[in-house]
């Protein structure tokens, strides 16, 4: 049973379960996009078809100039189709889960639609703080939640959705409860040490 009302925004939904066996579980689910699946598979077909066409054309080419021309065209077509396939590639992430185990650590889980689950455990002693970052790109701004770790030069992103191919960006109102829960867990640990 979920302890708080879920939050819905666009293709994301946030669920929080704070009573399951003293664990604090936060989940962000991503809706599947049927158009995305169709476009990505059709782009893969086009990509393969273009490759086969130009490879067979090259085989029958005699003149070096034509060979060179076909090469340039084929490289360009392959590149464009590759980029389109990559861009429209169906994002396989089903949900991202943050499991906060008080005084023990934080487990970050990524569940894919294929059934694969990737888990990463971070001990609480390694976490200095959690932060909400405003990230600016040449075309947009978005929020991301990250952990500052001891003896590490890089921040660890809590939600891999930010780094995924399709750049899914959960809204701030879903990141804030997770951030507050992480801060509470880290502060509890600090006061218990001191």
């Amino acid at each position: 049973m979920m302890s708080e009302a879920p939050i819905f925004h666009s293709k994301y939904s946030y669920h929080h379960d704070g009573k399951a066996q003293q664990l604090d579980i936060h989940e962000i689910l991503v809706k599947r996009s049927r158009l995305g699946i169709f476009l990505s598979y059709s782009m893969v077909v086009v990509f393969l078809g273009t490759n086969v066409y130009f490879v067979t054309t090259k085989v029958f080419c005699i003149l070096i100039l034509t060979f060179f021309e076909v090469n340039i065209r084929s490289i360009w077509s392959i590149l464009v189709c590759f980029l389109l396939a990559k861009f429209l590639h169906y994002n396989p992430v089903k949900k991202e889960r943050v499991v906060i185990m008080p005084a023990f650590g934080v487990q970050l889980e990524t569940h894919y639609w294929s059934g694969r689950i990737v888990r990463l455990f971070v001990p609480i002693s390694k976490i200095l703080s959690s932060m909400l970052n405003e990230c600016v790109t040449p075309v947009t701004c978005y929020w991301s939640l990250a952990l500052l770790l001891r003896d590490e030069g890089e921040l660890m992103l809590v939600f891999q959705l930010i780094r995924s191919v399709q750049k899914l960006q959960p809204p701030l109102k879903m990141l804030v409860p997770v951030w507050k829960a992480l801060r509470a867990a880290i502060n509890c640990e600090e006061t218990s040490i001191t």
Binding site: S10, E134, C135, V136, P138, V139, T140, C141, P171, V176
Partner: protein, 462 residues
Amino acid sequence: MDQQRKHSILMVSDFFYPNFGGVESHIYYLSQCLLKLGHKTEPDLNAFAFKIGLVVVMTHSYGKRTGVRYVTNGLKVYYVPWRAFLMQNTLPTFYLTLPIIRTILIRERISIVHGHQAFSTLCHEALMHARTMGYKVVFTDHSLYGFADVGSIHMNKVLQFTLADISQAICVSHTSKENTVLRSGITPNRVFVVPNAVDTAMFTPSTCRLSCDEIVIVVISRLVYRKGADLLVEVIPEVCHLFSNKFHVKLCLLIASSVKVRFIVGGDGPKRVRLEEMREKHSLQDRVEMLGAVPHARVRSVLISGHIFLNSSLTEAFCIAILEAASCGLLTVLPDDMIVLSEPDPGDMVHAIRKAIVMLPSIDPYAMHQRMKKLYSWHDVAKRTEIVYDRALQSSDENLLRRLPRYLKCGSWAGKMFCLVMIVNFLLWCLLDSWQPVESIEEVPDLVFIRNENEDVVHDSI
């Protein structure tokens, strides 16, 4: 009293911290003073219908400094990762900056977009996109430009395009207003004159008065043609020769001069080589000290080591350097008893320096500093800028069809091209609106900065 509506201002320019200069410090100080005005808690019966709630600055990235930064008093700065390509200007892309500008305007709930400096491409693009999206825009021009050379003609046409549909414009002096009105064809009654100011708290005179046995003349400027570096090359040897610790009795002038004059030259630029050559040629190594580029934080310490500040600029829209020098108690340019003006001619400049040396014993640095404090204050500039914002907000909202005829007046060919640019911009905006609706862009929550004993703690006030 009616509740005041809070408005947010977006300052846009290619020139901001960590770059140092007149425009950069203008944007910074103005933003700080506007933030302070917005946080006033006592009711003001003469207050306008709106109040400044938030000031955000947008500029391009400087090296690794990219993303969102908060500077003093919570002033938020967006360092958008567009690379500078020429003299700190972003690459002009016309439409590619539309998505990021739209995102920032929506998420920060901006009411007015205030662009700075005609030379800034980011400013022109931001004002164009803001007008397309229906925001009120204000533009401040900081420099004077010519009319004859190719660069100026191009710049003036771009300015004409931007100011064709502006809500209000600000110039830093009456001369600058004349120059802007002539260059852009904007009606003069839409241009306000709000002078710059100086941070008198930072530029204070020295506690101990320097002795007048040896007069030190300070020059701090970029050593380029426009700042009169060539004039300095002629003036410095002549002045050093005239005041070289020898007893002169000039019957025509009846001046007995036994003072020695020394120069301190701060700044760097292409003309530095000429000044170094002049030093070598006239053997003035002990009388002319070249400091090189002086960081802004050290400018005051250089100024207080001198008696007179010499500015040899050929053109200046508004010279903040002179205000800074006057605030430090140096004899410079300003009301008749604080200034000695001359023509941009070496002979005249030498005569003016001689006159300044004669006036020197009667100058009281602290009295000058107090006068500067009253005459030039950033709080005053902020209040006057608020009046301009108020006027801009009162202007009516107009759709594209009513705005297009203003661009047609810019020229027979240019006018039509400008109209086309605005129509394409409008169509791209509609496309972007349908792809990424306004509701999908989250607004930034209000952040309240609370200063704790040992650390600053940020609390979400919503």
